[in-house]
Structures are given as C-alpha cells and as structure tokens.
C-alpha cells in the first residue's frame, strides 16, 4: 500500500481537485468541510440524546425506588424494555415501524427519531444507575426525613437525591461517553455523521486509512471532551468531607 496522503481532506467532493485553503468556498465543499459537518452531526445527535437520556433516566430511576408498587413496576418495565433490545434494532423500530403506526411521525426529521432511540436506550441504563445510587443510601435517611415531617417529595429532593446523584456521576460519565460512540448507529438511518462520512468518503477517495484515522481521532477527542466536562462537574459539585472528596 502506498504512503499516506493527507491531502485527501483538501480535495473537492465533486471534481476531486485539491483546494488550496483546504476549505471549500460557496457551494463547493472539500472533504475537510464534510468531515467537520459530520462531526457536528455526531455531536448534535449525542448531545440531544444525552439530555433526553438524563431527564428520562433520572425520572425513571427515582420512580423505581418509590414505595408505590404500580409505579415502581412501570419503571422496571421501561428499563427492561429499552435495555433488552439492541440499539440498532431500536433505531430501525423508531425509523420504519413507529411511523407506520403513527403516520404523523413521518413528518419528523430522522435525527429526531434517532435521538429518541438513542436517548431512551441510554435512559434505561441511567435509570438503573440512579436506582442503585438511591438504594445505596441507608434506609434510615429516608425514614429520618419522613419523621422530620418532610413529604416524600421533599425527602427525595433535599435528602436522598443530592447524595445519590453525586454518587452516580462516575458511572454516568461512562454512559455519556458511550452515547457519543453509540451515535454511530445513526448512519443506518441517513444521518450524515462520522461513520457515514467514513464509509462514503473512503469509497470515493480510496484513502480508507487516512479517513478512518481522522474519524477515530475525532471520536476519541469527543469522548475525552465529555470525560473532562464530567470530571469538572464532579469536582465543582463535591461536598467537602463526603464521598471521597478531600477532608
């Protein structure tokens, strides 16, 4: 195989001529422009899915610990449903099957459906971690809160969740990092993200190795960025003298 050729990113996507500035102008687009826009899609899908996953995941996690049988069962059902179906299958279900049942959903953009699929899948995993976090707090704290005259909602809000959510930040960080990597399934339903770029651009340019290396690098940088951000949050919100924070 011949030597590496990084000039491939400066090529125009139409006539394959090398553009001097590496960035296309006007209507012209270089492979570098395309790579960056693909990265944008990966980040956009991941970020939206993460927001959805955190909101739904924390709610479902809390519901599963409530002293209310029906609600807790419903929460368990949610978790098992979304956790036990492979994420690629879920993407197809949202994209092809659900819109057949609800024709109104055909008008929704496809990235929205992918965000639903990825967000709900991850929410199941997050709910499990949140539940574990809440249940790791000694039962006595719940009873103490209730004995002081707080309502159940107040006990969760002021006693249990502040501790439980801090405790689950490290596993949630892994989830946030995997959502970036799992977003690769979006290529299957026509989102112009990094994996799709890699497949199409390597087909067009025959420079598979350069393109896959660049895409790998961007995934790595994105995941590392998520990790750094989560670490920062972890440090910011730590309570002195508690949960491994310095005394």
């Amino acid at each position: 195989m011949s030597a590496w050729d990084w000039q491939v990113f400066c090529k125009d996507t139409i006539d394959q001529a090398i553009v001097a500035s590496c960035f296309g102008s006007g209507n012209d687009q270089s492979y570098l422009d395309w790579l960056l826009s693909a990265w944008g899609w990966t980040l956009k899908v991941s970020a939206l899915a993460l927001v959805l996953a955190l909101m739904v995941g924390i709610c479902v996690g809390v519901i599963r610990t409530l002293p209310h049988r029906t609600l807790a069962l419903a929460g368990d059902a949610w978790t098992e449903l979304f956790r036990n179906i492979p994420v690629l299958v879920q993407v197809f279900l949202w994209y092809f099957v659900v819109p057949e049942l609800l024709p109104a959903m055909k008008r929704l953009p496809s990235y929205f459906l992918v965000v639903c699929a990825l967000g709900f899948y991850t929410s199941a995993r997050i709910s499990e971690q949140v539940r574990a976090g809440i249940q790791s707090i000694p039962k006595g704290q719940l009873y103490a809160g209730l004995a002081m005259g707080l309502t159940l909602a107040q006990t969760y809000r002021y006693v249990l969740l502040p501790v439980a959510l801090r405790m689950v930040i490290p596993p949630l960080t892994s989830e946030a990092m995997s959502i970036v990597k799992n977003s690769a399934v979006a290529f299957a339903v026509s989102i112009a993200e990094l994996v799709m770029f890699a497949r199409q651009a390597s087909e067009e340019t025959s420079r598979d190795i350069e393109i896959y290396l660049a895409v790998t690098m961007l995934y790595f940088v994105s995941s590392l960025g998520v990790f750094a951000l989560a670490r920062l949050i972890e440090i910011k919100v730590k309570v002195p003298g508690f949960l491994g924070a310095k005394q």
Partner: protein, 298 residues
C-alpha cells in the same frame, strides 16, 4: 460495522507485509481459491442462504475457476466463498484474503491504482426507480423531492454532482444497503431511488407488489462492472481474461445473461426482466477493461 473495522485493522497490519502476487501459484499450492461474493447485488451476485451463493458473476467465476483448475492440472479445487461488502472488498483483494471478487464492482481509474479488473462482463446504467403512482418521469421532476441512494456507492457522488451542475435541490436520504434504500422508497420516506439499473430491477422484482414501482428517466451514468483481481499479477489476469473472452466468443455469455436476468431465478423464482443494453453487448463483442472514465468521454 464491526466487520469493516476488522478489515481496516487487517489492512493496517498487512499494509507493509508482502502479499503473494502470484495467484496461480497460490491456487496450485493450496488447491483452494477464495471467491469474494455479495449478499445482495441483484442478480449479479447474491446469497441463497447459508454459504450458498449464486448469480451471473458467480457463475462466470465458477466457469473461469474450472478453466484455472484445468490449466493447473489440479484434480480437485476447493472454492471458498467469502461474503464481502462495498467497504471491505478492495482491502480484502489487496491483502490476499480474496483471490477473485465476483460481485458488482465498478471498474474506475481510482480503483485501478489498487486492484486489477478482468474484461468487462456487464455495463451498468444508473437509473431512477419511483412509485408508479408518483407520476415522476425524469430527474428534473425530482426538484425538492427526497431521493434515496445507498451509502458507499458511486451513486451518492453522482447525485451530488448532478445537483450542483443543474441547480436542482434534492433532499438526499441514505440507506445503509440496497434493501434499506428500497425500503425508504417503499415506505414513502423517499420519492425516488437512484441506483444501478440491475439492482433496481432486482429489488422491484422481489418486492411485495412489483407493479407499484417502475424505472424511469434518462441514464444518469454508465459504468463498466467487472470481476476484480489482485493488481500486478498479469499471469492470473490473462488466464481469467482468456476464459471470459472464450465465453463471449462462443456466445455462452448471452445464455448466462438470459438465465440470470430474463428467466425466473431462485430463491423466489421471480424474474428481473432486463435485456442486455447496447453498452453491454458492445463490451461482449469487443472485450476490454476500460475504466468508467472512458465511458463518460463518449
């Protein structure tokens, strides 16, 4: 996905290793040959389930390999079938995993830098498939419509070029394979599916109600499809070429065409219903391995 990454890793590992360029010697020494095939490339190359493969190119390759066996004087030649994809077929031929790829690979100048092609056995024309009820008859009527095509094919680039040149504005949707792209058309997520004519015809023939779909409009691009071989192995290429040229000369190739494209084929016994186009007939009469770029010039 997993497979293409594995292949990528394999390609990295083999990037500098010397690959045995003498395929005939390799076949003679091992009494085995690996044929790259496709899971769903229309009637050219497709799976019948399990590890059984069939199709126009698969049968041509089987005949070629029978000639190879005769030439090498082998009493027995094992043919291993390996399913390849658009993404991994070229690295697998380069690194020696696949000896002869019998799928639906376009012979173009960029690929000729990495691999060699046997003489063209089929000239593909890129066309548009639409729903019969849509009333669309040409590419210019697709302005503002969604157009499906398959990721990792030359049609994506073709569509982009056409869009820029003629100032039309499509909403492009991409399937991860041809079956997915056809599903996009079938479920109404796309108004048209732009792809090689044989693939369109094959997908329509296999659909639930073939009468709902039709192939319309002008030929968007002409591409020679050929059997792919390792580069810089003139002895093997000559053997393969001679064998195919013999099929062309005896007229057997048009019988093969009739068998795969005009008569009912397994597994569902449907017909693709496509007669050979003028370019294909020309390639049979004048065997050549010209890349797609030479066809565009005409």
């Amino acid at each position: 996905m997993k497979k293409s990454l594995l292949v990528f890793a394999a390609a990295l590992a083999c990037a500098n290793a010397s690959v045995q360029a003498d395929t005939l010697k390799k076949i003679k020494d091992s009494a085995a040959v690996t044929m790259g095939v496709r899971d769903s490339s229309g009637a050219l190359s497709y799976t019948l389930g399990g590890s059984r493969y069939a199709g126009y190119h698969v049968e041509i390759c089987q005949k070629v390999l029978a000639d190879v066996q005769k030439q090498l004087g082998l009493s027995k030649l094992d043919i291993n079938y390996l399913s390849v994809t658009s993404q991994n077929r070229i690295p697998l031929v380069q690194n020696g995993t696949v000896d002869i790829e019998c799928g639906s690979t376009t012979n173009n100048a960029a690929r000729q830098k990495d691999v060699a092609f046997a003489v063209t056995t089929f000239v593909e024309e890129v066309r548009i498939a639409v729903k019969t009820s849509s009333g669309i008859n040409s590419i210019n009527e697709l302005n503002g419509k969604s157009v499906a095509t398959t990721t990792g094919t030359t049609s994506v680039q073709l569509l982009r070029r056409h869009e820029r040149a003629n100032g039309v504005d499509f909403k492009e949707v991409f399937g991860k394979d041809h079956a997915d792209s056809f599903l996009l058309l079938e479920t109404g997520r796309a108004d048209a599916f732009v792809m090689d004519g044989a693939i369109l015809a094959g997908n329509i023939a296999r659909s639930k109600s073939p009468a709902d779909f039709k192939i319309v409009g002008e030929v968007l691009s002409t591409e020679p499809i050929a059997i792919m071989l390792r580069k810089d192995d003139p002895a093997f290429k000559k053997t393969v070429d001679d064998s195919i040229k013999a099929l062309m000369k005896s007229g057997e190739i048009s019988k093969l065409w009739t068998k795969w494209f005009e008569q009912p084929i397994p597994p569902s016994n449907t017909r693709v219903g496509m007669t050979p186009n003028e370019n294909t007939k020309f390639a049979w009469a004048n065997p050549n391995d010209k890349p797609a770029e030479d066809y565009a010039k005409k």
